[in-house]
Symmetry: C2
Subunit: 150 residues, 2 copies
Amino acid sequence: MSFDLTAYLPYLINRTGVELAAAFSREIAPHGVTLQMWRVLAALHHRDGLRISDLADLTSIDISTLSRLVGKMESRGMVNRRREPDADARVVAVALTPVGRATVRAIVPVARRYETVALAGFTAEEAAALKRMLVRVYDNLGGDALDSAA
Amino acid sequence: MSFDLTAYLPYLINRTGVELAAAFSREIAPHGVTLQMWRVLAALHHRDGLRISDLADLTSIDISTLSRLVGKMESRGMVNRRREPDADARVVAVALTPVGRATVRAIVPVARRYETVALAGFTAEEAAALKRMLVRVYDNLGGDALDSAA
DNA sequence: GCAAGATATTTGCAAATGCAAATACCGTGT
DNA sequence: ACACGGTATTTGCATTTGCAAATATCTTGC
């Protein structure tokens, strides 16, 4: 029944993610942005005009949380929400405002520095290998391989 | 101002961690255990009799959340809390009960299977390399390298 | 053209979370 | 022995979270 926590992948990923999130949150707080808001901003920087459900996929934030978060960001002038009249009237397209874009511009350098610190001591090849492996793990979880009984 | 989200390490780590957590949570729910409870149980399995603050370090759960969580787990009979009379009376040692140990025994196989699925297609060397790199990233974040201005 | 089932988003609500203050205890210097 | 600054845990409180129900819209089959 041995089970080595310190070599258990979910443990290693979780603690790294939590640490990264906590440190980064502290750093962007002065910009008036929470970590979740940054995730939305980064997703919209990646591709603007996303729908709420696309944002949920891209940010790993629950869709109902996002609905409220986007509302808050809208009231702060970072994004706007609109239903395209000519398209499916159920979907809400979220787009960056000039303020939102300026916020992204302000935070991207911080984000870059963060990655640099996280990967200190890594060669470019190692960093790329790590990222590739994380994508593979993510993809492994996507399927329904886990639905089967033990 | 380009910023490729899909190659951004914190993004890759976060989405993998969230996915892992969500899927695993679903799976252990029938055992009457939440993910956070499992983290506490796994930490105590790693080393029993830990104090609340040690548990916080090991599980990445906030200490005040842990205080309440351990209370709940105690009321469910999974752990007990005691202040050692001969030792520092401020500290609370948390220990697994027989019920807690049985729960660990029930969940460890699920956890093992999870790691297997997450690492499907990885050679043993690749898996080990991934884990080593995650430890390195975690260690990189530990210091105060991030406190300095950009 | 309309009923019935799908899909996108919002909202209700209870539980979880995290910061800060409160509490309880320890240790040192005098 | 005692005041004082430090440490461990708990508690107060406001915010965030996520599930499920409600709402609005679409789509398909008839």
